[in-house]
Subunit: 326 residues, 2 copies
């Protein structure tokens, strides 16, 4: 060990790529050691998105050198599937990223940088385990409910990946009857209980439930975003109550199924909807308790994400430090 020398401090760079923006920050084993920076994608596609990522990385390389830090390792969270064997990425919300060679592009531009990539859902649970609600847990699940629904799952300290790195796609879970063709696009659970699913539920009820369809006091069609519904619920709106009750049933049943199957220590609720829907965690637990394996449900805890929208970024930071070979 060289102590007291002018050697720059070695840090990892975490990058969280979303469908609309890229966030980045520097990390050491204590946590975030730089300001967080965000670049918006502004409808960029394919290799342009790769360029944006590289632009963000360069700004951090610059920032680090000015602050006596050195970045040799990079962790990237991607919104979709990362194929571990090839380093290629499928990100359904980024046009041109149905088979994007992310690792290759990064390696081409960043010599001597040790790079790790993982899916956003894997990064959420890594982030929460490292610095959030799941510290010390080895069997824990991050249930991400936003535009889509997915689960990041830690089993005995290891990320569940599946045979082809597609594990955790529980937006496709079958939780009710009967099958309707619209499930083919979203999956049953996601159709009903994602952010857009809440809006769909409200519109479905308004259109087909005679109790609500004729009532002029009910929510207008343009007031059916999840936050509108949450607000209307607080004001006592009965349609909002019916919508949220149904969402709670779906979240409760899915949580119950995770508990019966995995016997986890905790389920962490995150994503854009949790967020505001964490106010319903007690009701979700009560719904889950009706259905779940009775011993496992008594042992599990349901908790909100502590890192919120930074969970993926912290996970990417953790990835970058794990890959640290210095």
């Amino acid at each position: 060990m060289h102590q007291g020398s002018k050697n720059p401090e070695s840090v990892g760079l975490g990058i969280d790529l979303g469908g609309t923006k890229i966030a980045g920050a520097l990390f050491d084993s204590e946590g975030m050691v730089s300001p967080k920076k965000v670049l918006y994608l502004e409808n960029k596609t394919g290799h342009e998105v790769g360029e944006q990522i590289f632009m963000l990385i360069e700004s951090f390389l610059d920032w680090a050198s000015k602050n006596s830090m050195q970045i040799n390792t990079l962790g990237v969270a991607v919104p979709g599937i990362h194929y571990l064997k090839t380093g290629r990425v499928w990100a359904p919300n980024i046009p041109g990223w149905d088979d994007f060679p992310l690792l290759e592009e990064l390696n081409d531009k960043l010599e001597n940088m040790d790079i790790s990539i993982d899916s956003d859902r894997a990064c959420y649970i890594l982030g929460e385990t490292w610095k959030g609600s799941a510290i010390g847990c080895k069997h824990v699940i991050f249930l991400a409910v936003g535009t889509g629904i997915g689960a990041g799952i830690l089993i005995d300290g290891q990320i569940l990946r599946g045979a082809d790195d597609i594990a955790g796609a529980i937006g496709w879970w079958a939780l009710t009857d009967p099958f309707i063709p619209a499930y083919k696009k979203h999956g049953c659970f996601e159709y009903h209980a994602s952010g857009p699913g809440i809006t769909r539920t409200a519109k479905d009820i308004k259109a087909h439930d005679s109790e609500f369809s004729k009532d002029a006091d009910q929510l207008a069609a343009e007031q059916m975003m999840p936050n509108d519904i949450f607000k209307a619920l607080k004001e006592g709106n009965p349609l909002a109550k019916k919508v949220i009750d149904q969402s709670i049933r779906f979240w409760g049943k899915a949580s119950a199924n995770l508990v019966s199957l995995f016997n986890p220590e905790k389920i962490i609720f995150g994503g854009g909807v949790f967020g505001p829907a964490v106010q319903f965690l007690d009701e979700i637990y009560l719904e889950a308790k009706k259905w779940a394996q009775p011993v496992s449900i008594d042992k599990v805890k349901f908790e909100p994400s502590k890192l919120g929208s930074d969970a993926g970024l912290y996970g990417a930071g953790f990835l970058s430090l794990k890959s640290n070979k210095i």
Copy 2:
């Protein structure tokens, strides 16, 4: 290595404890090397069952010495939960085994025997991976449907155990609406689609579906065991068709959920019901394909158990060899 000497061949003893009988056999790395022996429990309880296990072990020690084999290692499959840290067992179908100190009892009687215990569902998938339908698989699930429903799950070659060794209890999976109080005892999936669940479904339909309740040609109440229903289906009985169609929907949805979540290479169908219900595997796959994550369902294979009722015994044999420290 001493070759050509008279040293006895070292083998492992596998014991598969069920709710009504105990099966045992000797194993080496090639497979079973002795006849299989079975002892019936005949309503024995608590420590008497421990005595029966010991009696079976003694008969194998005797058989081994007569056949120039030596048993130093033992693997036991138990019908319930094995708590790894304590060696205690919860087996709901054996009276007096709600917290049975199996490892302690065996250790007391068997000096110098290296003992491994695991749950039946863990042993099923270990057995199939070793000598059955899942050879070479690292991500594979054994869906056991019999008196109860459970899953033995292998993830990257490791058994899924959960925080308290209770993982895999998917008989409790919530797969339909609404919740009914009877689910509290069995779990929703098990209520509808276990062996007794098939009988329950037939009785429910006969009692409440006007199409069937008044038809004198329909199945009598005493003809509603699963095998009766399978037989009636072959004879074109419409009630049997309705019952099995509903069972296929539940099996299909549960399989779909396993596929979306785990992205496994295979699901192996076993237990007393699969068995005869393997004739429906193609229909179960078609039902699963409606609901599941589309990439994962195209990659997975649904296969019958190759070891059948010996899956747990082979798993116990595999356990015994894994623990082999010779």
